[in-house]
Symmetry: C2
Subunit: 141 residues, 2 copies
């Protein structure tokens, strides 16, 4: 009890995720027109997306395109037919403590129990209504 101790810290911006209706033309924009280094297309069937990473030096853009019938970005692309920023991902050093403190501060987690994310690390998504309309992913770095 007494003085509250901070048991976790926020780290770097890991990525900005952009849902795109056409993965090839989106990749071409960043690679051919803007000259960025981009990854190969990586299918992640267990997450329902194809991904392409765009390197920006200090962080990356993650282009997402639906894979399979129940992709988590299907609904987003129906509403945003041109595509759009789907979420941002910030690193934390202790995701269990982060979720504990956030939920006690009335910031809801969409999955209170961390799950393994697209990079093989534990992640939690926070409710956009509690984060100024932003879907915020926390990833244990």
């Amino acid at each position: 009890m007494g003085v509250s101790e901070r048991l976790w810290s926020l780290g770097k911006l890991n990525h900005v995720a952009i849902a795109v209706p056409n993965l090839e033309s989106a990749t071409a924009l960043y690679r051919d027109v803007m000259g960025a280094k981009v990854s190969e297309v990586t299918p992640l069937p267990e997450h329902g997306v194809y991904t392409v990473f765009v390197e920006l030096g200090n962080t990356k853009l993650e282009l997402l395109h639906p894979l399979g019938e129940k992709s988590p970005i299907e609904g987003f692309l129906k509403k945003n037919t041109a595509g759009g920023i789907h979420h941002i991902c910030i690193e934390v050093d202790n995701i269990t403590e982060a979720v504990k403190q956030l939920t006690s501060s009335e910031v809801r987690a969409l999955n209170p129990e961390p799950k393994i994310g697209a990079h093989g690390k534990p992640v939690v998504f926070l409710h956009p209504k509690d984060c100024n309309g932003v879907l915020l992913e926390l990833e244990e770095a």
Copy 2:
């Protein structure tokens, strides 16, 4: 003519701009709940916004709130009442060449002539319809 030369490069992600309906509660989320270092509220009357910067180590979030009657984020907040990601800003080393090449590749600029942005540097906004639904700001670093 002949081999085309690349006369500019894409650099770091300078910031992710988030439009927020309540600047105090948005700042409190990042400062008090998440423990991030945040700036004072800075009014930028010539840009029609109040800003607060959230430091993330490798980049920053820029919280935006309308200032004055003709704020450029007023319409966005009417559509997105909870707030949301308004744009991302990527650095370039030569904004004039960047705009020249982008427009010749049919990526439209909202202001083809660079203007002085919120950080006192030349910026150009690219048309979201040509960038996968993302409002993309280029800033000469």
